[in-house]
């Protein structure tokens, strides 16, 4: 795993920052690594920070949806935070509504929602 993407434990959630120059291979590796961490550390949630992503294609969209599916099976909620307006428009145009994931404006907002649960 290269240094572009980091996984940090914040409160009871794993914070994953996805960098703009993330490659397809790295994101698949991330999927694998993250599923192990969720199971091992018994977290309540996974927060995907995609605020630095300027372009999202169907592949990344699908991986995010899959990550959400995996987390749900392992009893964790997935939050997508910090999506840029242009990315949101693109995803909607591609018909990827990411209904499996929850969304939040920022990390704080996501943590607040997690605490409320």
């Amino acid at each position: 795993m290269s240094g572009v993407t980091s996984i940090n434990l914040v409160e009871s959630a794993l914070l994953v920052s996805i960098q703009d120059d993330v490659t397809d291979t790295e994101i698949v590796e991330l999927q694998d690594m993250l599923s192990h961490r969720i199971a091992k550390e018994n977290v309540k949630g996974v927060i995907l920070d995609i605020s630095s992503l300027e372009i999202v294609d169907t592949f990344v969209g699908r991986v995010i949806a899959q990550l959400a599916g995996i987390s749900r099976l392992l009893a964790a909620e997935t939050f997508v935070v910090g999506m840029r307006p242009a990315v949101a428009v693109t995803l909607v145009e591609l018909g990827m509504y990411l209904t499996e994931t929850r969304t939040a404006l920022s990390l704080t907002h996501a943590l607040a929602q997690l605490r409320r649960d």
């Binding site: 997508v80 935070v81 910090g82 999506m83 840029r84 307006p85 990315v87 949101a88 428009v89 995803l91 909607v92 145009e93 509504y97 990411l98 209904t99 969304t103 939040a104 404006l105 920022s106 907002h109 996501a110």
Partner: protein, 291 residues
């Protein structure tokens, strides 16, 4: 004597330039297209002189044999003067008919002078008249095109302004936005609205957005599609969307059309939507005890 097709025309343009200008003005008055209310005499005269000068220059260099093309470099001056005059006239409210007649009025003085040339044979005269007609007609068509182009620009600008005016995103409360939609919601407008809304969500870190459709006349599948896509994009950004202003009529239509709003909250009035939105960001509206 072999003579170029434009020789006679050039001669009259050179020898009686100011006469032609005066007669051109006179014809405009006769035809009732000289707008003395919009242009002073001096202004009209100056415009006509400039146009005729550019026209003469075009005739001198831009006609090869009997052919010419107004898009050629030789006609550049005429095009420039013409577009300036047309723009000026559009902005002062001259009609297209007046504009075309204004240019076409140039024929009369030219014909009169060609006719007055004594030593011209009939066949040559006819050829010259034909050439002048074609030149002036092309001139008029070009004017009309500029005129329409100017109008189109005005329409486009106004359309843009309308788009911007009609999509205000209002901050109702801390982290609560509203988007009062009014009129029709076509694809272009929906796109504009969506982009504007998402940008504002980002700037204000808004958690709840109320899209009010009280002012939207009809909701068909297309409009519903636009609304739901906007709602989906809002959700992806991390905010929540409430669609308010769904009248009983619209609710019936939507069900009959089989539109599924999914998980998007809908309310009949902006009033209930507002109280829900405030509750979600942690406020309540309370009556003060005194009243």
């Amino acid at each position: 004597m072999p003579q170029s097709a434009t020789a006679n025309i050039l001669t009259i343009l050179e020898t009686s330039f100011s006469g032609i200008v005066e007669e051109w003005l006179g014809t405009q008055v006769k035809e009732g297209v000289k707008r003395s209310d919009l242009f002073s005499d001096a202004e009209s005269r100056a415009q006509n002189q400039e146009l005729l000068k550019a026209f003469a220059k075009g005739v001198r260099t831009g006609v090869v044999g009997e052919e010419f093309n107004l898009d050629d470099d030789a006609w550049e001056d005429l095009r420039a003067v013409l577009s300036e005059v047309s723009k000026e006239r559009v902005s002062r409210g001259v009609t297209p008919t007046e504009m075309a007649t204004f240019v076409l009025a140039l024929k009369t003085p030219l014909f009169n002078r060609l006719e007055a040339m004594l030593d011209v044979e009939q066949s040559v005269l006819i050829r010259d008249v034909l050439l002048v007609t074609r030149l002036v007609d092309a001139f008029a068509i070009y004017t009309n095109e500029i005129f329409i182009g100017e109008r189109d620009q005005i329409i486009e600008r106004q359309r843009q302004e309308m788009l911007e005016l009609s999509t205000p995103v209002v901050e109702l409360w801390d982290r609560v936005l509203t988007l009062p939609l009014i009129g029709t919601l076509d694809s272009a407008r929906a796109q504009e609205v969506m982009e504007n809304l998402l940008q504002t969500i980002l700037e204000r870190q808004a958690e709840v957005v109320i899209m009010d459709i009280t002012g939207v006349g009809t909701v068909d599948t297309q409009v519903a599609q636009h609304l739901l896509r906007a709602a989906a994009a809002v959700r992806l950004m991390g905010a929540e969307c409430i669609i308010s202003g769904i009248s009983p009529m619209i609710a019936q239509t939507m069900v009959q059309l089989g539109i599924d709003v999914g998980t998007v909250s809908t309310r009949s009035s902006i009033r209930t939507a507002l109280s829900d939105a405030l509750q979600r960001v942690g406020y309540v509206i309370q009556k003060t005890e005194a009243s």
